[in-house]
Symmetry: C2
Subunit: 354 residues, 2 copies
């Protein structure tokens, strides 16, 4: 029997009970097709299978590789590439195997690519305020017509309110979501179709305009989303071994997990009971002790001791889940302290597995 303390480090460890609680909480609010789980957050078909076990059979993805992998895993009932592509050939090949594949389009060029690549169904991607993909709301109807003229089925619209999902002020988040969704609903009136796809973990309970929510981070969580007071628990951490303790008096110690084990765009990982000073490629330099004004409980049922020693294991909570998982090739699944399974993070990269 392998226990967490026996794992080689660095290692991604998943708390199975917390994952299942998160999935159940979301499935209760958005059952079945009302949730379209976003696999970009975890890139793991085994985890997607747990989402499917909660009743969700439609998924969204950010890369062609994710779509391919989900179809290969038998999870291809309704796959949405919630992203634009200029070459849809590989998507068409997935559709030709019998999986249902829909792709987002926001321009004449991406419509032409979908048609040429053999993808039969599209959503019109509408810009609802985030400076990223999406057509102008008042251009959505024209694009839908153009897509239909190209022989495509237009299933509806999508629009991601990504500029508001992380706002810790709930009233502002709700107001921002409403403003975005009013634009999306107006565009939908011009486009038609069944689907209004939007939302994310941050707007999971304040977006009644969308009829499917594209949430991903809720399954595993991270310190950025933890600031929003959501009912989802931190369900994974990075296990690291203390490989060195500073000469007496210096006070810091070093763990064997660094820049290649954590997505760093939201900053350093958190260390419950201690503070991360900085990360190097394969190291984290930290000091024990909380800041004086920090009385929050640890998010992961573990806290650093006062005197870390060489050989101790520490548990770090990433600031951003998606780019963290993309660095790792497996998730160790823990039931309490016991490792009960190992899941491949099998949707990484962009090219076909070869």
């Amino acid at each position: 029997m392998t226990r967490i303390e026996d794992l080689p480090t660095p290692a991604l460890v998943l708390d199975a009970a917390r994952l299942e609680a998160n999935l159940a909480t979301m499935a209760k609010a958005h059952p079945g097709a009302a949730l379209r789980p976003h696999v970009k957050a975890h890139k793991c078909t085994a985890l997607a299978r747990r989402q499917a076990a909660q009743g969700h059979r439609s998924f969204c993805a950010a890369t062609i590789r994710e779509i391919e992998g989900m179809a290969e895993a038998g999870l291809g009932d309704d796959l949405l590439l919630a992203n634009e592509v200029l070459d849809a050939t590989r998507l068409g090949a997935v559709a030709a195997t019998g999986a249902r594949v829909t792709v987002a389009v926001d321009s004449d060029e991406t419509i032409a690519a979908a048609a040429k690549g053999g993808v039969g169904e599209v959503l019109i991607d509408v810009n609802v305020g985030l400076p990223r993909c999406g057509c102008a709301p008042d251009d959505a109807g024209r694009l839908a017509e153009r897509a239909r003229a190209a022989g495509l089925v237009v299933r509806g619209v999508m629009g991601y309110e990504g500029h508001v999902v992380g706002n810790p002020d709930r009233a502002a988040r709700e107001a921002g979501c409403r403003a975005s969704m009013e634009q999306l609903v107006a565009a939908h009136a011009d486009v038609g179709g069944e689907v209004i796809s939007a939302g994310g973990t941050g707007t999971w309970d304040c977006n009644p305009w969308a009829n499917e929510i594209q949430a991903g981070s809720y399954a595993l969580m991270d310190t950025a989303y933890a600031t929003l007071d959501l009912p989802f628990e931190q369900a994974f951490f990075v296990l690291s071994t203390v490989v060195s303790v500073a000469p007496a008096g210096a006070g810091y110690a070093i763990g064997d997990a660094g820049l290649k084990a954590f997505g760093m765009d939201h900053g350093n990982p958190a260390l419950p009971g201690g503070r991360v000073l900085f990360c190097s490629d394969e190291h984290v330099t930290f000091v024990p002790g909380r800041a004086e004004d920090d009385t929050a409980p640890s998010p992961i049922d573990w806290e650093l001791g006062a005197k870390p020693a060489v050989g101790d294991r520490i548990r770090l909570v990433p600031a951003h889940v998606d780019p963290t998982l993309a660095y790792h090739d497996r998730l160790y699944v823990a039931d309490g302290e016991e490792i009960v399974d190992e899941w491949a993070i099998d949707l990484r990269g962009w090219t076909a597995a070869d």
Copy 2:
């Protein structure tokens, strides 16, 4: 014949001529064993082979997996794990195949681990100012005795002046390097052995105290090291496709490379001739146009046009090479605009390939 413009995106593209120029410049200054190239920077045995072709047969690494992969690739003449480990079993297994394996130690525990794991040779890792691994300089002699008593061969010392290698003020960099190396040389007098291993790309030409330089970034470079006015050229970029252009007047456009294609700890990638506004998981939002005071030539012989269109290819220069390569599984090797080879980034991850 595949050209850069034909590659699926995002893609890491290596300029073969620039790589070879960088390798030759370094090999001229530090021929043969005077350079111990650090493979953590590229995690690619094919690239290490190019370094070997320049005459370097000793390498250093930051992970056990890198050591294993280098030995498997036939590059195991003299491998140094320039890092501490508490379980050296896998390193001992590599040594048992006939490769020469040395590991850094900085404590009683890491010495015991080396002996127990079957690694016969060590360097005493000395802290020379960077708050990371390494014993106190005046403890190095004691640790060397202890290692010899444990049956280990002590080859000498290592100490990384990582807190000074990135200082853009050359005089301060030189002074900091000297201060660090004086500590290392003093520790070496207590330790004995042939090796004084230190240095990096930033101190490649101002560290005469070390008899081998552990440089890695010089081969490929990044925007952080580019601020130091070194003679090494930017030899790789991330190719991305423009998948969306904002509605008229907004001025921005979006490429298909984001947080999972770039190590972000040193900030956004650079876009010659344009400016990156922000990265999302699989997107980069950018605007064309240089800042008014920016008259520097492009570091990669390419520059963004004034009006990017959907389908255009753009070339982004990462801020930090090491954690960027760790996200990718291959490097496309370009001779001018033509792709002439594809190298696996085969030293990624931490566990044995399985």
